[in-house]
Amino acid sequence: MSPRMPAALKLHMVLFYAFLYVPILVLMALSFNRAGLPTVWTGFSLEWYGKLFSADPIIRAARNTLVVALASTALATVIGTALAVGVETRRQSAALDALLFAPMIIPDIVLAIALLSFYTALNMTLGLHSIILSHVVFNIAFVVAVVRTRMRHFDHSILEASADLGASEFTTFRRVLLPAIAPGVIAGALLSFTLSVDEFIIAYFTAGAGQGSTTLPMQIYAMIRFGVTPEINAMATIVMGVSFALVLIAQRADKGVFTR
C-alpha cells in the first residue's frame, strides 16, 4: 500500500519478528553447541544428534508418532473431504457449522478427558489405536475447514456445466470437483499431519499406561520435565524443521490456506 511507513512502526515490526524467531533460533543454535549450554559457545558439534538417534525410546516414539499421524491423516482426509463437499453443496445450517468448528476450539484438555472417560466407560484398551481415533476428531475439523474455504473460492457453475455436458454425478466429482479442490485437500492433509505429529495432551490422556504407545511429544514432555538437556535442543530442531517444511508445502499447494 502506502510506501511511507513511520519509523516507530518499522521498529515495532523488527522487534515483533525478533520476538517470534529469537527463541527458536537460539534453540537451533544450541543444538549444535558442543557444551549444549546456553551460556558459552564451545564449538560446533553434531554429538547431540548422534545421541538422539541412538536412543531406543526416542526412535520408538518417533515411529509411534508417524503411525498415529499417517493413520489419522488418511482417515481424516477422506472423511473430512466428503463432509466438506456434502456441507457446501447442501443448505447451510448454523448447528452443523458449530459441530464442525467445535473440535478446533474446545480446550484440548477437555476433549482429552472426555475421550478418556468415553474409552474407559466402554472398557476399551488404550493404545495407539485410541490415539488415532482421537486425533481424527480434530483433524477432521481442520480438513473440513480448509476444503470448505477452497470450495467457496471456485465457481460452482462448473459443476452444473459438467452435468449439462452429460456427466454423471460420480464423473463430475472425479473429473471436475476433485481436481478443483485438490490443492485444498492436499493442504488439509498436510496440516492435519503436522497437527497430529505435534499433539500432546490428547495423546497423553488416551495412550494408556505403559511405554508401548508413547509418542514423540509425550517423550519430549518427559524430557523437558527432567530438565534442560542438549538432546531436547537437537530434537526440537528436527521437529521444527519437519513442521516448517510441511507447512510451507501446504502453503505452496493451496496459496492462501493460512491467509485468507
Binding site: L9, F16, T39, I79, G86, P103, P107, I113, V144, V239
Partner: protein
C-alpha cells in the same frame, strides 16, 4: 457426509455429554464414578480455593490477551502498509512458528528465561544486574509463554479485517481534514473491531484452559484451571469434580464466542447498512 458426522457425534458429542453427566454423580472410592445423584461437585467448585484458581486463570488469560492485542495490532497494521508482494511472505513468517510443536515453543522460553538462560546471561554480561532475575516459574513466565504462542493468530485476525477496509475510506477521511491519528481512531479502528474480538477471544479461551504453559513455565507452583482439571483426572482421581471444572471452562468459552459472534454480526450489519 454420514461417516464424518457419525465420527464427530460418537467421539466428540457423546464423550462431552458423558462428562456432562459425570458432573452430577459422586466420585468412586478408588477413582471412577459412583452413580449416586449429587450437586456437591458444583458447591465444591465455589470453594474460595478453587474460585481463586479460576480468578487467577482469568487474570492471567486477560493479561495475555491484552498484551497480545497490543503487540499484534501495530504488527498487522505494519504488514498492510508493507509493499504488496511482501505481505504474503510476512504473513507466512508470522504463522510459521504457530504450526511448530507447542511444547518446543514453550521449552524455548525455559531456555530464554532460566537463571542461566539467555536473557539473564545477556543482562549480567552487560553489567546491568549482578544477580540473575527470577524470570521463570512465575506468572510473568506464563504470560510470556501464552503471548508468544498465541499472538500470531491475533495478527492474522486483525490483518484480515484491516485488509478488508476499503482504502478509499481512509483517503476520504484524510481528504475531509482528519489527522492520521483521528483517521485511525474514527475510521480504521471501528472497522477492525470484529478482527480484534476474534483474535482476543481466541487467546483468552486457549489461555484460560491451558495446561502446558502453566505446567512448564509456572513450574507446577502456579495452578490454572487446566492443571486443576488434569490433576482431577490423573492424580486426585476425582472425575466428577474434574467434569464440573471442564463444564465451567466450556461455559466461559461459549459465552465469549457468542459475544464475539454478536460483535462480528453487528460489524458486518453496519457495513451492509451503510
Amino acid at each position: 457426509m454420514g461417516p464424518g458426522l457419525g465420527w464427530l457425534a460418537l467421539l466428540m458429542v457423546v464423550p462431552c455429554g458423558l462428562i456432562f453427566t459425570y458432573a452430577f454423580f459422586e466420585r468412586g472410592l478408588y477413582g471412577g464414578i459412583d452413580y449416586i445423584w449429587t450437586f456437591e461437585n458444583f458447591t465444591r467448585a465455589a470453594d474460595p480455593l478453587y474460585l481463586g484458581i479460576f480468578l487467577r486463570s482469568a487474570r492471567i488469560a486477560l493479561t495475555a490477551t491484552a498484551i497480545a492485542i497490543l503487540i499484534a495490532y501495530p504488527a498487522a497494521y505494519a504488514i498492510t502498509r508493507a509493499p504488496k508482494h511482501w505481505q504474503t511472505a510476512l504473513l507466512i513468517l508470522v504463522i510459521l512458528p504457530f504450526w511448530s510443536n507447542y511444547l518446543i515453543r514453550t521449552y524455548a522460553w525455559i531456555v530464554m528465561l532460566n537463571r542461566e538462560g539467555l536473557i539473564n546471561g545477556a543482562l549480567e554480561g552487560a553489567g546491568v544486574i549482578d544477580e540473575p532475575l527470577p524470570l521463570l516459574y512465575n506468572s510473568f513466565a506464563v504470560v510470556v509463554g501464552l503471548v508468544y504462542n498465541y499472538t500470531p493468530f491475533v495478527v492474522l485476525a486483525i490483518y484480515s479485517s484491516l485488509s478488508r477496509i476499503n482504502r478509499e475510506t481512509i483517503e476520504a477521511s484524510e481528504d475531509l481534514g482528519a489527522s492520521t491519528f483521528t483517521t485511525f481512531r474514527r475510521v480504521i479502528l471501528p472497522q477492525t473491531v470484529s478482527g480484534v474480538a476474534a483474535g482476543g477471544v481466541f487467546v483468552f479461551v486457549l489461555s484460560i484452559g491451558n495446561f502446558i504453559t502453566p505446567d512448564l513455565l509456572g513450574g507446577g507452583r502456579l495452578q490454572m484451571v487446566g492443571n486443576l482439571i488434569y490433576d482431577q483426572f490423573l492424580s486426585a482421581r476425582d472425575w466428577p469434580f474434574g467434569a464440573v471444572l471442564s463444564m465451567f471452562l466450556i461455559a466461559i468459552m461459549m459465552v465469549l464466542l457468542f459475544t464475539q459472534a454478536v460483535l462480528a454480526g453487528r460489524a458486518s450489519g453496519e457495513r451492509t447498512n451503510s
